[in-house]
Amino acid sequence: MSVEKKATRAAYGETLIELVEQGHNIVAIEADLSGSTTTKKLGEAYPDRLVNVGIAEQNMTDIAAGLAATGRIAFTGSFAVFGAGRAYEQIRNTVCYNNYDVKIAPTHSGITVGPDGGSHQMVEDIALMRALPRMRVLVPADYASAKAAIALAAKTPGPFYIRLGRAAVPQVHEGGFELELGKAYVLREGSDVTLAACGIEVAQALEAAEILAQEGISAEVIDMVSVKPIDVDTLVGSVAKTGRIVTCEEHSVLGGLGSAISEVLSEVRPTPTRRIGMADCFGTSGSPDELISYFNLDAESIAQAARELVG
């Protein structure tokens, strides 16, 4: 794990520029947040490739659908609470129902949006997006993985949700990392407990594994970047070995990664489970690091859940 920190959103605008330069027919649609989401640089380089609709996320989503209907690969940005939340029904009935090539890629998700407070900290988006037929959900852990997720979505037809974040996070993957849809990545092998995480929680899980190692507990850490489709084989293979699992996400424990994993394992291989995530509550203002601790999403909280399972 690299100490140099970088936000996953930093990958957004620049990766879109690279994809345009590789010949992909990309267009980004924004709702007055192109500076925050980093697509402004795309618009500066290629003015026709950025469409700003003003503060109108529902319109943004359906404009993207119309542009996709003319053969484009359309990316929508904004913050998750607006781009996924406010525009949910547009995503359902126009993007997914038509199976358009629209990629919903909001750059500000989860509590690490930080000081803006609970109104802007979207912790229900994975649940919303995961429930939609035809939607694929990627939650990258770091900058390299975010680049790979954006490229994968651009090159795979149909709707995608790519959950990006504002906070700078450590690098857990090598640069040039290539992502496979529906594949989970074992970042650290272990035998006593599985820590299955997505997004910024992957780095916390790796740190928790270090803490546990010092106590003689061997934790396996899996990056569940592809929340939907989910990698059943990797999950089952891991818990067959460890017999216990802690799920870790910067999202509500209702409907997100923990739910997805519990759904799979309860049918295929029932496994003692603890879910780390937002406990059915809204966020609050604070710095990202403070909030991760305050809401018990930090490495120590993950380690504690693992200790309880290992008993």
Binding site: D48, V51, V53, G54, A56, Q58, N59, T61, D62, I63, A64, A65, G66, L67, A68, A69, T70, G71, R72, A74, E89, Q90, N93, T94, Y97, N98, N99
Partner: protein, 283 residues
């Protein structure tokens, strides 16, 4: 590549045929929306059979085609009637409307039905989708236009006005919005439920070129739909219509928004449409 040149008699005959199809398919289905399908029948007939909409039955995905977006998706039967009449879908499909295992869904589904440009039914979204299409076509220097048919009750959806701002801002003069201004919605008169105010003034204020017509006067519809574009301005055609037009017991009755006729009512309705429309045998 217009399929036909304008011939008033032909369009009128098609509109009559489409009204009968609408009644027959809804009667067979036992549910659906006759009122808003009948109010839009003359507009849709003129689009498809008056040489307005450019489409090629053999190449429905031609990038140079015009696009018709039925934003008021509950009026699906009027679209299905046009698609059958145009030979895009088999006429026999009409009897399968709203039935399990058949292609004609309660609201248009582009993935199931050829000729449906985009799946619609959730009101307020069609104009945004049309704006995206119109912008994409401009960026591609494609020659086509986008025609978007909305209901007047639908204009209560705020997203319509987000799209209207966008269309004017982006100077989408290849966009033609059409308002089926029948004055009724499910809960009653639009003016009583949520009044729209001065509709032409609203659209003008949003930067649109506004044309007002009688939405059952086929020559007026044709003239409005073929008026040369106003460079740099999107257009809206406000078509005053009657819900249930052509069937006297349905006309201007909100209760016929979303109720299908019984067998007996269906027969009465078709008899009346035939009597008024004269010969409407398939061409």
């Amino acid at each position: 590549m217009p399929n036909t040149t304008f011939d008033f008699e032909t369009v009128a005959r098609k509109a009559t045929r489409m009204r009968i199809d609408i009644i027959e398919m809804l009667t067979a289905a036992g549910s659906g929306h006759p009122g808003g399908s009948l109010s839009a029948a003359d507009i849709v007939a003129t689009l498809y059979f008056g040489g307005v909409l450019r489409y090629d039955v053999a190449h429905l995905d031609d990038a140079n085609r015009d696009r018709f977006v039925l934003s008021k998706g509950h009026a699906a039967p009027v679209l299905y009637a046009a698609l059958a009449e145009a030979g895009i879908i088999e006429r026999s499909e009409l009897r399968g409307l709203r039935q399990l295992g058949h292609m004609l869904q309660g609201h248009p589904d582009a993935l199931k039905t050829p000729g449906v440009e985009v799946s619609t039914g959730s009101l307020g979204q069609g104009l945004s989708i049309s704006c995206g299409m119109a912008l994409g076509m401009k960026l591609d220097s494609a020659p086509g236009k986008v025609f978007c048919l909305m209901g007047d009750g639908e204009l209560q959806e705020g997203q319509v006005w987000e799209a209207a701002m966008f269309a004017a801002h982006r100077k989408l003069d290849n966009l033609v919005a059409i308002v089926d201004n029948n004055g009724l919605q499910i809960d009653g008169r639009v003016e009583d439920v949520m009044s729209l105010g001065d509709l032409p003034a609203k659209w003008r204020a949003f930067g649109f070129d506004v044309i007002e017509i009688d939405g059952h006067d086929i020559e007026a519809i044709h003239q409005a739909l073929t008026t040369p574009i106003c460079p740099g301005k999107p257009r809206v055609i406000i078509a005053r219509t009657h819900k249930g037009q052509g069937v006297s017991f349905m006309e201007d009755q909100a209760k016929w928004h979303g109720n299908a006729p019984s067998e007996e009512q269906g027969k009465l309705a078709c008899d009346e449409i035939r009597a008024k429309g004269g010969d409407c045998s398939c061409q």
